[in-house]
């Protein structure tokens, strides 16, 4: 049987979920036996050379590039898994959702102790190359359909491994109480 291909992406996240994934330690060798790797920051492959079976998405969407990336993943991957608090509910970045975007930018680039002196011309980043910020930070399932959710900040390595091997082998995931936590 052909090995399934796994892709991963980090949107508005801190890469903590990827780090937690790597916490599966030597079990990654078992996983290598079961799967091929596609586009992922882990192997630094930047384009979809072929469609993938499973994609792990870390982080929510806070700018237009995230939306573009997420839609691209939806197009090229059979199963999308939202990994972690940010992908599921926006997480820490979504704590800005009730602050007007102008206020956020001014606080970050004009008024904060580290930028107030360093930005005398009071310039807000405005290069056309920069992704445009969205009005809010959106969880992934509000942008495209997500198939599975692995909660946690980050999800426990055992949860990621258990869910992934279950998806790959077609068996039921063994997820004991201790591995499903929201923090």
């Amino acid at each position: 049987m052909k090995k399934p291909i796994i892709a991963t992406a980090s949107l508005a996240g801190c890469f903590g979920c990827h780090m937690s994934f790597l916490d599966i330690d030597e079990r990654i060798l078992d996983l290598v036996e079961l799967v091929h790797w596609g586009k992922s920051p882990i192997n630094d492959i930047k384009t979809f050379e072929q469609d993938c079976d499973i994609a792990l998405i870390e982080g929510g969407c806070c700018n237009d590039e995230h939306i573009h990336t997420l839609r691209d993943f939806r197009k090229h991957c059979r199963i999308l898994v939202a990994v972690g608090e940010c992908a599921i509910m926006g997480g820490l970045p979504a704590m800005r959702n009730n602050i007007p975007i102008q206020e956020c930018l001014e606080e970050a680039y004009l008024n904060s102790p580290s930028t107030a002196q360093a930005n005398p011309e009071r310039i807000l980043p405005n290069d056309a190359e920069l992704p445009a910020l969205l009005d809010k930070v959106y969880p992934c399932h509000e942008i495209v359909k997500m198939d599975y959710f692995l909660p946690g900040c980050p999800p426990r390595a055992d949860l990621i491994y258990g869910a992934l091997t279950a998806l790959v082998t077609g068996q039921e995931a063994k997820l004991p109480y201790e591995v499903i936590k929201f923090d």
């Binding site: 509910m89 959702n97 959710f149 692995l150 900040c153 929201f182």
Partner: protein, 254 residues
């Protein structure tokens, strides 16, 4: 809706999940279940115990997580008094899915950022989400705009996490009976307000009690953040409800 419940000595027989139990007239279904070691989830109703400092049980009937089916009709177990030969369904797939939906709605309605909450691991709402295996709410998040009040020296009141259960309104009072918290407005504008003057002079014990009574992380005692390490928090190892034994009778059946 009853808030404190008086009981008499008359004995009533009813059935919960096929188990025949005895209750006293005037008790609610929830009280009868607790007395007999049967778990019915609650977020607003609270059983009086030495731990929470309550003198009598409270049952505001605001959260509806204790919804059970009584003789075929769905009722809140915390506000429905027992009656002879009631047949109560509690731990069924249908009711647990209904409860899970209520938990999901509460999650999307407020701003429950669990990783940044000091009550995480000891939060009843989060623990119910674990119990009902909520991996993600089925609904879109509202990202409601809520205020945080950090003026008091001992308490932080974060409305982002408030589920309007009314526990603090009923349970936290001064010695002469003045309420420290109260309800304001109606419908989707409902909220809890705090008497800032009274809360400013709150004792250390009462601040602790307020944090303990709040089922979520809306009332946080200042300067005690994250004092229980991961792995030792209330719901780290066992789901909410798994410890159900009556706290006043130590599990003895009445």
């Amino acid at each position: 809706m009853s808030e404190t419940i008086e009981t008499s000595s008359e004995t009533i027989t009813l059935t919960i999940d096929g188990q025949e139990i005895q209750a006293k007239a005037g008790q609610t279904i929830l009280q009868a279940a607790q007395k007999n070691g049967i778990y019915i989830p609650t977020l607003c109703a609270l059983h009086a115990s030495k731990e929470n400092g309550l003198k009598s049980d409270i049952a505001p009937g605001t959260c509806r997580i204790c919804t059970v089916r009584v003789n075929g009709r769905t009722m809140a177990a915390c506000t429905t008094p027992v009656a002879q030969d009631y047949i109560v369904e509690n731990d069924t797939e249908e009711l647990n899915d209904l409860r899970k939906t209520i938990v999901e709605l509460l999650f999307v309605e407020g701003n429950h950022f669990c990783p940044s909450c000091e009550k995480s691991g000891s939060c009843d709402l989060q623990a119910l989400a674990y119990r009902y295996q909520m991996l993600s709410p089925r609904f879109h998040y509202a990202f409601s705009s809520r205020e945080v009040n950090a003026e008091s020296p001992k308490l932080l009141f974060d409305r982002n996490r408030c589920i309007l259960c009314r526990r603090c309104v009923l349970a936290i009072t001064t010695e002469d009976g003045k309420q420290l918290f109260g309800f304001t407005k109606r419908g989707d504008k409902s909220g809890i307000i705090m008497d800032e003057e009274l809360v400013k002079n709150i004792s250390e014990e009462q601040a602790q009690q307020a944090m303990h009574i709040c089922p979520v992380g809306a009332i946080i005692r200042k300067e005690k953040g994250f004092d229980t390490p991961f792995g030792q928090r209330k719901y780290d190892h066992n789901p909410i409800g798994s410890e159900t034994v009556c706290t006043t009778c130590n599990g003895e059946k009445s």
